[in-house]
């Protein structure tokens, strides 16, 4: 009887050990799976864009015409479109995101008003991009059109400028919330020192807070840029989708992400599809590099 009991006990503890090693192996397996997933993403993109790399070579990147009917593929219009919309959006968004970061980090870090603003910013990040696009298409586009009539340019309504406006709203939260955290990290003895020397609040912000958080604020801008480059739906809906180099910031254009969204399911031969995927590969590499630099800076900043 006792022997039996001991045996079952031994068995169950054997089972425990087995379960334990199984659990540990599962954890490691999942960790490896993450790496495999990302490497797999990259390899798939590279393999599928080989036909385009072989046929079009490096001049694909600065070809000026994109004409799938005649099998001519040049990515320059989309590269310019992407850079133009992203940087314009960044320029529009920076005053707002820095104002929010400074207000929440320095002027008013606690209390219901700052909570309200903080939650608003987080909700702005939560609104789906297709809803921004829809609202932009039916509300912002007519507004921009009437603005364009007043300014005296061709009143498209849709175009690079409208896309940048929508993008600017969408990316404000990223730089703002990161900037807020960075500003909170400024040691108060530094600020107190400046105050005790007679500096005004503005002078403390300008001469102590901003210089101290410079790299952190820059990282926030980088992460915003990463978002802006890869944003697809809202841009696709308001940018106008023409595969030409935009003639002005009010003209219609196309970004890398929007051309993929529009033409991927229509691509009827290998080279066409492959050229689109190469765009995706470029987008992938650029956003990954930008994000990595941003995260590196944040890590270094918070560890110091």
């Amino acid at each position: 009887m006792d022997v039996q009991k001991l045996k079952t006990k031994a068995k169950s503890s054997n089972g425990m050990i087995r379960a334990e090693s199984l659990f540990k192996r599962t954890l490691v397996g999942v960790g490896i799976a993450m790496i495999v997933l990302v490497v797999g993403l990259m390899i798939t993109l590279i393999i599928e864009s080989i036909p385009s790399m072989k046929n079009l070579g490096i001049k694909y990147l600065w070809g000026r015409t994109w004409d799938p009917v005649n099998n001519v593929y040049g990515a320059l219009p989309f590269l310019i479109g992407t850079l133009l919309t992203s940087f314009l959006a960044l320029i529009i968004s920076i005053p707002f995101s820095f104002a929010i970061a400074i207000y929440l980090g320095e002027y008013n870090p606690k209390g219901w008003l700052s909570n309200f603003l903080k939650n608003t910013v987080e909700l702005i990040a939560a609104v789906p991009s297709v809803i921004y696009g829809f609202w932009g298409l039916l509300v912002l586009v007519p507004l921009v059109r009437s603005l364009e009539i007043k300014v005296g340019v061709l009143p498209y309504g849709i175009g690079i400028f409208t896309a940048s406006l929508i993008l600017a709203i969408m990316i404000i939260p990223y730089a703002a919330s990161l900037g807020r955290e960075m500003i909170r990290l400024v040691p108060s003895p530094l600020k107190e020192g400046a105050y005790s020397l007679g500096a005004t609040r503005y002078e403390v912000i300008k001469n102590v807070v901003i210089p101290y958080t410079k790299s952190g604020l820059f990282a926030g801008i980088l992460l915003s840029l990463g978002r802006a480059l890869g944003e697809t739906m809202a841009v696709t809906m308001v940018i106008g989708n023409t595969s030409m180099i935009p003639d002005s910031i009010f003209g219609p254009g196309n970004t890398m992400a929007s051309v993929i969204a529009n033409e991927f399911t229509e691509a009827d031969h290998t080279l066409y599809l492959s050229a689109l995927i190469e765009l995706g590969l470029v987008l992938f590499i650029v956003t990954v590099i930008i994000n990595m630099i941003g995260k590196r800076i944040i890590k270094r900043f918070t560890n110091e």
Partner: protein
């Protein structure tokens, strides 16, 4: 130089800048309010019982609803959650248990990379992984794409939550002779469950409105479909297709759908926020 004027000037400048910053900071609430109010006004009149229970009618016929998109969205998001939640939480546990080490470093880096990958790129890749081998667009391929997007949020929130749990708890468990996996699953994870749950809700809120990865995977479907192996409609896809169409009736339906989607996503976010505040978790 008169010092009195000088200090007054400096104080004035400081006040002026403060006002400017407050003005710019609060200007951001305007677009959000505009969007919410506009969508509410346009959408609320479209929503009725028929809108929620019928499939869309062809262009030109009045009526019709979005039940196919509603059910499709729920099914796609549920399937994505079933795929992503176990993997994401396990990976979060792995990373919080292994703070150093080469494998953990690369794993953590991969999660970082994944977080920055544009959603449209994930759509392309899943097209080649799932849609092309099977030969048809399908809801499950959409779920896989969304699951990949959920992973980084899940891993991050789990890792950050579990890092905060005191090491002594784990030591106490081990000292009682509990095997490692029981310490993790019965002591550590339950302690951090509220943080993990809010990570889950955040990740669902994040993917519920995703459109780009579904374009080449779930594809959309004008009819009611509950078969995961076939193309399926979802709310964001439907809003995109209907909003970019030239028909006014379709715009109306898209407003209704946008209202439902917007409020679901905002509600999920607000609930998450309230629970994290209540449990005092920092995400």
């Amino acid at each position: 130089m008169n010092k009195n004027v000088n200090i007054k000037y400096r104080m004035g400048k400081s006040r002026f800048i403060q006002g400017l910053i407050i003005f710019f900071a609060f200007l951001i609430t305007v677009p959000l309010l505009l969007i919410i109010i506009y969508i509410f006004r346009e959408g609320i009149t479209k929503i009725n019982w028929a809108f929620l229970t019928q499939i869309p009618k062809p262009v030109g016929e009045a009526g019709g609803g979005i039940v196919n998109a509603l059910i499709g969205s729920i099914l796609i998001v549920l399937t994505a959650s079933v795929i992503a939640i176990p993997i994401g939480i396990l990976c979060g546990i792995y990373l919080s248990e292994n703070k150093t080490g080469r494998l953990a470093y690369w794993s953590r880096l991969s999660v970082d990379v994944l977080q920055g990958v544009p959603s449209i790129v994930i759509g392309i890749v899943v097209y080649f992984w799932v849609v092309k081998p099977i030969g048809t667009f399908s809801a499950v391929s959409g779920s896989i794409a969304l699951a990949i997007m959920m992973l980084p949020i899940l891993v991050r929130s789990t890792e950050e939550t579990l890092k905060l749990i005191p090491f002594s708890l784990k030591e106490a468990g081990l000292a009682l002779g509990l095997p490692y996996h029981k310490v993790i699953l019965k002591v550590i994870v339950p302690c951090g469950i509220s943080g993990i749950l809010s990570g889950i809700m955040l990740s669902i809120a994040r993917i519920a409105g995703e459109t780009a990865p579904l374009l080449f995977t779930a594809f959309g479907n004008p009819y009611l479909n509950t078969n995961l192996a076939r193309p399926m409609q979802s709310l964001p896809l439907m809003i995109f297709n209907y909003a970019t169409s030239p028909y006014d009736e379709w715009h109306d339906m898209a407003w209704g759908a946008a209202l439902i989607l917007l409020f679901t996503v905002l509600l999920l976010n607000i609930i998450t926020k309230l629970t994290t505040r209540r449990w005092n978790v920092q995400l």
